[in-house]
């Protein structure tokens, strides 16, 4: 090939005169605005949503924004967050799992029965709960792969079957208390990161942006491709660090940053990596975008579905274990009510499309913050669960409408 990376003075991707070369900070800002206008909303709805929620709820009850209430909110968010992270995977394929609530309930019941009632060591009990999740996911994937049973139907049957199993293994007493002195319950209720550790950890994302940003700049420059300017990377890293350190400082005015939430965030980061930087993740998006194309490209579609459903249900089970830890109990109510809808709504609010092929792991994190804020705020107002359900239902409907509108706008702007 005659084209050597350093042979031409113009970067490969800047050779076409029709492409506007967005350089520097102003360029980055302009590209961002363009994206929003074309319906590629990114995290904008979430940011707007969070600001609105904070204003409304703190006016109604000033407790809402107090540091300790936010700490509680983060404790609560981790459990639903894991379920939502699993939902993101399923939605990316354009499928749905309506049984994640029941799955989480069954998982908490399993931990209660195995660990408290039968004396199985805690790690084994948790492992059993996760395996149950993986097995259920495998069942859904098989029903879809072998019998082309829509996931909507199989998981709806699963919802009932799993709930039945939960009630069955809990027996007539209906609830099992988890010991308060145990690690699991302390993890779910009181374990807080020491100040120095939380401040240190809040530096990591910024440093990561610097490290990867500059590494990518060098690699792209060496390959004769256009690259972000140093100022953009610096500003990004600075903004993220300021935001995180500020949030940590505020939370540290109260009890501090819950370990449970940090574990959740780390899992989200790992999933984000898997989705965007591995062949598996690319295949997930391809299957969700055009299943026939994925198949012809040699992607093992059935295997991708299997991994997605198994991971999805396992994450739901993990969410169930976390919520048992949070409540210090495994009960018949676990996983029922609005859990399903909250998890799905969180994924959609965070920007995961119900139509498949679009979304990110961050969606679970951002969306669950919105959903949990609403739920927390309504609880502070002493609203009954009947009203909470209605409001959460409306929020999900709005999120789906925004998703559909953004999709239409993207289609008319040719952005998929």
């Amino acid at each position: 090939m005659s084209m050597k990376p350093d042979a031409s003075p113009i970067a490969y991707d800047r050779a076409d005169a029709r492409v506007r070369a967005d350089t520097g900070l102003a360029g980055a800002a302009r590209a961002f605005l363009d994206r929003i206008r074309s319906g590629d909303l990114g995290i904008l709805p979430v940011v707007v949503g969070l600001i609105l929620i904070s204003v409304v709820f703190s006016t109604l009850n000033p407790v809402f924004l107090l540091p300790n209430n936010l700490v509680n909110l983060l404790f609560d968010a981790a459990a639903v967050g894991f379920i939502s992270l699993g939902i993101v995977l399923i939605l990316l394929l354009g499928e749905i799992d309506l049984s994640v609530g029941s799955m989480s309930g069954l998982a908490s019941a399993l931990v209660g029965v195995l660990w408290v009632n039968m004396g199985v060591p805690l790690p084994l009990a948790i492992l059993a709960a996760l395996s149950a999740g993986a097995a259920m996911g495998a069942v859904y994937a098989t029903l879809l792969n072998r019998f082309t049973m829509p996931s909507f139907v199989s998981t709806l049957s699963g919802l009932l079957a799993l709930l039945g199993m939960q009630l069955y293994i809990l027996g007539p007493t209906g609830s099992i208390n988890l010991p308060y002195s145990s690690f699991l319950v302390r993890f779910g209720q009181i374990l807080i990161m020491p100040d120095w550790m939380s401040y240190g950890l809040a530096l990591v994302p910024g440093l990561g942006i610097l490290w990867f940003g500059f590494r990518q700049m060098r690699a792209r420059a060496a390959a004769n491709l256009s690259h972000a300017s140093a100022s953009v990377v610096l500003v990004k890293a600075g903004a993220v660090t300021l935001l995180l350190e500020g949030a940590v400082a505020y939370l540290n005015l109260g009890r501090g940053v819950p370990f449970m939430f940090v574990v959740f965030v780390l899992c989200v980061a790992a999933m984000q990596y898997a989705l965007t930087r591995t062949k598996w993740g690319r295949s997930m998006f391809a299957v969700g975008g055009n299943i026939e194309a994925a198949r012809r490209a040699g992607i093992k579609v059935k295997r991708i579905r299997l991994t997605a459903f198994m991971l999805g249900s396992s994450l739901a089970a993990l969410g169930g274990v976390f919520s048992a830890a949070r409540l210090a109990t495994a009960s018949q109510q676990a996983g029922t009510g609005d859990v399903n809808l909250n998890a799905i709504a969180a994924a959609v609010i965070g920007g995961t499309s119900l139509f498949g092929g679009r979304g990110s792991a961050w969606a679970a994190l951002l969306g669950v913050l919105v959903i949990q804020s609403i739920s927390n705020g309504l609880t502070l107002l002493n609203l009954s669960s009947s009203l909470r359900y209605m409001i959460t239902g409306a929020v999900l409907a709005i999120a789906v409408i925004i998703d559909s509108l953004a999709r239409q706008s993207r289609a008319s702007h040719g952005r998929a």
Binding site: A223, T278, A286, E292, A293, A294, G298, I299
Partner: protein, 267 residues
């Protein structure tokens, strides 16, 4: 008029040599006793009426179907193409009529779909460089490889699909109706691409319904009729001759209609 295959074909060895390919689906014989040669740097058009067996033949070469009988020689050696991936490793790649691109992914991701570099830590930089090189080889005009496919025109999508077929460095590229959905300018763009493929030494098999396109870019035109060879033409053959071979008689409705329209157009 129709001539013997051997007399037309250049003297050198073909890359692909089909002899006596037959394919039956139950009682239907979709292909009977098909012979076809494809050389390096040659565009062979495959034409025929609906149901003539063109797609079936392409699918046999793409590893989707197995022939009922007959032999396939690739680079002088007998080959069996028992799966799509076998076809790809052998060096036969296919651009299907519906293109098979993921609209939600960008150009780079589509080009490398299923063939990503370093699966556990995708090498986006190397993939992007290779993407520009592939597109450069085709002198293709794609403004940005980081835009989702949804933002590209039909011709640009076809270009991406063709570039994608070159990723594994095939010997033969098969194109099923590459211009069917395109406007005039974009059709011209794709015809240019096909000529560039030939100039780069690929063997090209082109399926098209558009006689003008076929005669513009093909070195040889193989006609299938009811699953049988019905003559091979050079590009000098008249449109009427080819249409007649497609329809199966020198004197028939389509040929006469075609002749009338051509005279009208000339007046």
């Amino acid at each position: 008029m129709a001539v013997n295959d051997a007399s037309l074909a250049p003297a050198r060895e073909p890359i692909l040599r089909l002899r006596g390919i037959t394919k039956t689906f139950g009682a239907v014989s979709a292909l009977s006793d098909i012979d076809l040669d494809v050389h390096a740097g040659e565009v062979v058009a495959l034409v025929g009426d609906n149901g003539a067996g063109k797609s079936t033949l392409i699918k046999i070469l793409a590893g989707v179907f197995q022939p009922t009988s007959g032999t396939i020689e690739f680079m002088g050696r007998p080959a069996s193409i028992d799966s799509p991936s076998a076809a790809l490793t052998l060096g036969i790649s296919t651009v299907f009529q519906d293109l098979s691109l993921c609209e939600n992914l960008d150009v780079v991701a589509n080009l490398f779909l299923g063939q990503e570099l370093s699966p556990w830590a995708l090498d986006e930089v190397q993939m992007e460089v290779r993407a520009w090189q592939l597109l450069g080889e085709l002198a293709a005009r794609i403004p940005s490889v980081r835009e989702p496919i949804a933002s590209l025109s039909g011709g640009q999508r076809q270009t991406v699909a063709i570039a994608r077929s070159l990723l594994l460095e095939p010997k033969i590229v098969m194109l099923d109706e590459p211009t069917a959905a395109l406007g005039v300018a974009q059709t011209a763009e794709v015809l240019n691409l096909i000529e560039r493929l030939r100039d780069r030494g690929y063997g090209v098999i082109l399926i098209s319904h558009n006689m003008d396109n076929v005669r513009a870019v093909s070195d040889r035109i193989a006609v299938l009729r009811l699953g049988r060879n019905n003559g091979t033409f050079t590009r000098d053959a008249t449109r009427e001759q080819i249409v007649a071979a497609i329809m199966g008689a020198d004197d028939n409705v389509a040929a006469r209609r075609d002749a009338i329209e051509r005279t009208r157009a000339q007046q």
